[in-house]
Symmetry: C2
Subunit: 331 residues, 2 copies
C-alpha cells in the first residue's frame, strides 16, 4: 500500500511540473488561478502515473509520456470541476470546489481551459520525440475517452430517480464515467512508449479492468470505510439514493418486502443512520456487497494476468501492485 | 453578398452531414439531442466553410478539410452553448438557447461533448488521406485557438464594470474570443490542403484580419443596422454597458462632460431609447464609429492583399468576396 503511494509520489512530481509550466501563461490571472487550483490542492494522480509507468513497462521511458500524462490529469481535473457544478458538490480534495471559490461561470471556463490545454499538451509530446503517428493515435484515444466521460456523466444524471437500472446499464455508465480515462491513460502511455498494436490493446484492457474495479471499490468504501479515511459520512450514496452495483444487485435479488424497504430508504431524501444500517443489512442478507466485491476482485485478477505477456521489469511489478492497490485502498 | 451566402450554402451542406453523422451515436439520447440542437437550428457556417475554401485555395480539395471544418464548427457551437450559460442569454439562432430548452447541467455537458467530438474529428481526417503530421499540426492549431477562446471569454467577463479598457486590451480580447477560431479555420484548411509553411502562415494572417474585422463589424451593426435584420434591438450593447471599440475610442477622445454623460448611460442598467440616441450622438461627434469602421476596413484590405500570393482560382476569388462580405453584411 505505502509502496504504491510512494511510487505515485515519485512519478507525480514530474507531472505536476509539466502542468504548472503549461498553465502559467493563462491570461487573465483569475482564469489561471481557477484553472490551477485543484492541481495545487493535490490528488492521487493515479491516472497520469499509469501513463508514465505503462510507457516504461512496454520498453519506453517515463519522459515519453510526460505530456500525455499531464493531459490525462488535466482532463480528469476538468471533469471534476464541471461535475461539481452539475452535482452541486461544495467540496473537492478537502477544499471548497472551484465553483464555490469563484462562481459557476469561472468554473465552466476553467474546465474548458484545462480541456483545451490537455489537447495542446498531446501535441507537445513531439518535444520528447513523439512521432506525428504516435500523437495522432493518442489524439484518437484521448478524445474518445472524453466523449465517453460526457456520456457517462449524462447516464449517471439520467439514473437519478430511476430504480430499475440494470447491471449492464450500470457497468456501461461507470465504464464511461470512470474507466474510459483510466484505460486511455494506460493505452496512451503504451503508445508513447513505442509498443506494438497488440501490446497497446492489452494495456487498454488492463486499464479498463482496473478502472471498473476502481469505481466498484469506491461504492464499496462508501459502506465499509470509516468517515475519517473517506472524508465524508458512511452510507452517503444511500442517503443520496444513488444507484451502485451493490444497490442494483440487492434490488434484483431482494424479496418484495425487502425491496420495498430498500426503495423507501433510497427515495427518502433525509435517510437516518438507522435507515443506512437497515439498507446495509439488506445488502448483506442478499450478498450484494460480496457480489460487487467479487466482480471487482475478478477484474483485478484478470488485469494482472494480462500483464504476464510483458517482460519482467520494476514497472510491470508496479502495475501489478497498482491493480491490487485499487481494492486495498481505504480512501 | 448573395453570392457569398450561396457559396456558404454550397460548402456547408457537406459539413452539416459530417457533423450529423458524428453526433448520431451519442448515448443517452437526451445528450445527443442537446448536442445536435444548435447545428439543426442553422447558422452562417462561415468558419468551417473558410476551412474548405482555404484548402482549395492552396491547391487541395474541399474534402481534405471536411473533418477539420466540422471540428471548427463544433468548437464554435460548444463556445456558444457555454457562453449562453455564462451570459444568461436566452435566445440563440432565433431559438431558445440550449440551457433554456434543457438546463445548465445538460448545456455544460452538451458543450463538453461537442468539444470532445471536435478533437475526435481532427483525427478522422486520416480517412480523407491526411497524414499524421497534418493531423498533429492541426491539433496544435485548434487546441491553441480553444485556449484563446476561453481566455477571450474570461477577459470579456473581466471587462464588465470596467470603463478604462484600452484599445489594445479590447483588441486582444476580440482576437482571442472571435479571431482565434477564424484564423484556426483558415490555417487548418491550408494545412489539410497541403500548403507550405509560408502559405499556411499567410492563411492564418488572412483569418486573423477578417476575424477582427468581423467582430468590429458586429459592434458596428449593433448601432447602425435595423432591428429586423439584427434580431435584437438597436443599441443593445449600450444598454448592456458593453465595451466595444467604438465605446473605447469615444471614451478616449471625449471631453469631460461628454465622457461623464456616456459613462452614466453605460452604467445605467435600464437605458432608454433616448439614452441610446445620446450615446450614438457622442460616438458621431468624436468620429468613433468611423474610426472603428476604418480599422475594420483596413483589416479587410490587408487580408485581401495577403491573398495575392496565391495562384488565381475561384476559391481565391471567394476568399476575397468573403473578406468584403464581413463588412457588407447586415446581420
Amino acid at each position: 500500500m505505502n509502496d504504491v503511494k510512494e511510487v505515485l509520489g515519485f512519478y507525480s512530481s514530474d507531472i505536476i511540473q509539466v502542468i504548472i509550466d503549461e498553465l502559467s501563461d493563462i491570461n487573465p490571472k483569475d482564469l489561471q488561478d481557477a484553472s490551477i487550483y485543484l492541481t495545487k490542492a493535490g490528488g492521487k494522480m493515479l491516472r497520469p502515473c499509469l501513463s508514465l509507468i505503462s510507457s516504461e513497462a512496454v520498453g519506453g521511458k517515463k519522459e515519453d509520456a510526460f505530456h500525455v500524462g499531464a493531459a490525462i490529469e488535466l482532463i480528469h481535473t476538468f471533469s471534476l470541476i464541471h461535475d461539481d457544478i452539475m452535482d452541486n458538490d461544495d467540496m473537492r480534495r478537502g477544499m471548497p470546489s472551484v465553483h464555490k471559490v469563484w462562481d459557476d461561470e469561472m468554473a465552466i471556463l476553467a474546465g474548458d481551459t484545462l480541456f483545451s490545454k490537455a489537447f495542446k499538451l498531446i501535441g507537445c509530446s513531439a518535444k520528447n520525440g513523439a512521432t506525428p503517428l504516435q500523437i495522432s493515435k493518442t489524439l484518437d484515444t484521448i478524445s474518445d475517452a472524453c466523449i465517453k466521460i460526457c456520456e457517462g456523466q449524462a447516464l449517471d444524471i439520467s439514473f437519478e430517480g430511476r430504480y430499475d437500472v440494470s447491471e449492464e446499464e450500470y457497468l456501461e455508465m461507470i465504464f464511461k464515467k470512470t474507466g474510459a480515462l483510466i484505460c486511455a491513460a494506460t493505452k496512451s502511455g503504451a503508445i508513447m512508449g513505442g509498443a506494438d498494436e497488440d501490446i497497446i490493446d492489452i494495456m487498454y484492457d488492463y486499464g479498463r479492468l482496473i478502472g471498473l474495479a476502481f469505481q466498484i471499490q469506491d461504492d464499496y468504501l462508501d459502506l465499509v470505510s470509516d468517515e475519517e479515511s473517506l472524508g465524508k459520512p458512511i452510507g452517503s450514496d444511500i442517503v443520496k439514493g444513488k444507484m451502485t452495483l451493490i444497490v442494483v444487485n440487492a434490488l434484483e435479488k431482494a424479496n418484495d418486502e425487502d425491496r420495498e424497504t430498500l426503495l423507501k430508504i433510497l427515495k427518502e431524501p433525509n435517510s437516518s443512520d438507522d435507515d443506512v444500517d437497515i439498507a446495509i443489512e439488506i445488502f448483506n442478507k442478499y450478498g450484494a456487497i460480496e457480489y460487487a466485491h467479487n466482480i471487482a476482485q475478478n477484474n483485478v485478477d484478470e488485469a494482472k494476468q494480462l500483464l504476464e505477456i510483458l517482460p519482467d521489469s520494476s514497472s510491470k511489478a508496479t502495475l501489478e501492485l497498482i491493480a491490487d492497490f485499487v481494492l486495498e485502498r481505504h480512501s
